[in-house]
Amino acid sequence: MSNLKLISILKKYGKVKAIDNLNLEVQDGELVTLLGPSGCGKTTTLRTISGFLAPDSGDIYINDRRITDIPPERRGIGLVFQNYALWPHMTVFQNLAFGLQMRKLPKDEIKRRVKQRLETVRLEEYENRYPRELSGGQQQRVALARALVLEPDILLLDEPLSNLDALLREKMRFEIARIHKESGVTTVYVTHDQTEAMVISDRIIILNKGRIMQQGKPEDIYENPANKFVASFMGNTSFINGTVVGFNGKYTLVKTGDGLTIYGIGRKVKKGENVVIAVRPENVQFVLPPDIRGGMKSNNLFSMEIERETYIGEVVDYQLRIKSWSIRAKSAVSNKMTKGETVKIYLDPDKMPILSE
């Protein structure tokens, strides 16, 4: 049973606050992802937890033991790096055994634990290879095994998949999720890749400028972004600016400067407030002529011109224009429309978050 607690962590570089009063709690067995653009403080946070960086103020606890002043080697934290950081002068076996030797375990115990851990990452035949003889994906699995073989209280992963090619990265996401489930270790995972975060996380924490922008389950964050930053970071979001003009049942009405009225869901907005509507491509529905029936609401129906169409394999990606707004949309390849065409689209008001500017 292990949990991690960060209380009011502050870390400054000169005048810039890399971490700005961060509070974070990770429950036993949970996989939490710190997600954000480069420079958002996620790696700084990780280095503070691992002990390679001392916070200016604040405290870190593992299992209610204060570890703020304890050196990295006595924190019981496993680390996995973006560049794997396997020791090139040691074989896979020696890489895994090193930490166990530091704990002065008997030889056959070390052998047993290394073998068992290599099995979990499915690399049992590679124990006598050197890191350079392995592929990137295999190296990263060794790095994962090396961190896990000590059965750490907390596992920290720093963009572990960023050096892999797209195809392998996709596979490794599921592999990491599987290994996490099997080992049940409390994990903090740092990435800038939102898809990666969605696949593996129990909870996502979105960071910007050293502050938590939003946290929650992947689907909650995706569907109910708390602010413009989160909406822009998750998904391929287009924004329409406007002013709240009124409310209608559960919907909020927004009027744009050029006269469009759009219905959406506004949680914390007031009348007269300047807002943005977050439009995601999957929420833009093309309305084909037979669909325009009497029963369909006329709210949120717009005529738009296709500005650009790009075939990207499974779908066609469009840029649509209405007045001064440009939004992204997707359609099945079978319905491909061409540039210059005018189409009717429907923006489902239940899926149009209205956010403070």
């Binding site: 934290i77 680390l79 790096f81 560049n83 950081a85 090139p88 704990r103």
Partner: protein, 280 residues
């Protein structure tokens, strides 16, 4: 037709490569061939293209096998061992300064780090003669002039440049994550240094030791000012004979070259060590 052209082109490139190789071999080994020839020439007067008579007299004399005053050569064995001893002590001392200094300069933010870095460069940044004349003055006052320790100190000063620069570059090339990974699995800072950093840095450290060694073996100016007339190293004997006795000078030159070449071969072997390829 096209195929023939292709073969011809290939032939042309191979021929060109061979010519270039021979040319570069000539550039590198040409002067040495002349040295070798001179070292075995008993008689070689103008305008003969090759020595009129050859023999190993100078070699025998230089290696102390034969003693005669006829050909103006002396045994260089004492000078050789003196040079070797000075070089070994210089390497050990200089490296035990250079390794910690290089590590600190590479891994920590040291106030005035760059300044300290350039301090090590100083003895080589200025013309050496004025520096050593000054040093002679100081050494005479404190009784180090004309002594072996005095000469060793000079060699260390000159050798530290290579020592510190190469070691710090070596340590800098080791990704810090390799050390952090070791710390995270429970190794203390010292253990991490000896189990991870040092083995990874070994090729670079060896290379820098070799540079220090060769620098000491060949060092002339400092030894000339500080060491003479009591400390006579191999380059000193070479200097005193080079004016009038080409044969003897050639023998000494070849003997001076030998350790350097042996070490260069050693470096090449070690630097090819496979794990270097895994870094980066």
């Amino acid at each position: 037709m096209r195929k023939i052209l292709m073969i011809n082109k290939k032939l042309f490139i191979v021929t060109l490569e061979i010519i270039l190789l021979l040319f570069s071999l000539l550039l590198i080994f040409g002067p040495m061939t002349s040295l070798a020839l001179w070292s075995i020439a008993d008689k070689w007067f103008w305008p003969n293209l090759l020595p009129q008579s050859i023999g190993l007299d100078y070699w025998r004399q230089a290696l102390g096998v034969q003693k005669s005053l006829a050909i103006g050569a002396v045994s260089i064995i004492p000078a050789f061992f003196l040079s070797l001893m000075i070089a070994v002590i210089t390497v050990i001392t200089a490296m035990s300064i250079a390794i910690p200094a290089g590590y600190a300069l590479a891994k920590y933010k040291i106030p005035f780090g760059m300044f300290i870095f350039f301090l090590f460069l100083m003895p080589n940044a200025f013309p050496q003669q004025p520096i050593f004349v000054n040093l002679l003055d100081i050494f005479t006052k404190i009784g180090l002039a004309g002594t072996i320790p005095g000469v060793i100190i000079v060699h260390i000063l000159v050798g530290l440049v290579f020592g510190v620069w190469i070691t710090s570059a070596t340590f800098r090339s080791i990704p810090p994550q390799l050390e952090e990974a070791a710390r995270s699995v429970g190794a203390s800072g010292i253990r991490t240094f000896f189990r991870i950093t040092l083995p990874l840095a070994a090729p670079g450290l060896l290379a820098s030791s070799v540079f220090v060694f060769i620098t000491s073996l060949d060092e002339f100016t400092g030894t000339f000012f500080i060491g003479l007339p009591f400390v006579i190293t191999l380059p000193m004997t070479l200097y005193s004979s080079s004016g009038y006795n080409m044969q003897f000078a050639s023998v000494i030159a070849i003997i001076l070259l030998l350790p350097s070449m042996l070490f260069m071969m050693l470096i090449q072997k070690v630097l090819k060590a496979e794990y270097v390829g895994g870094m980066g």
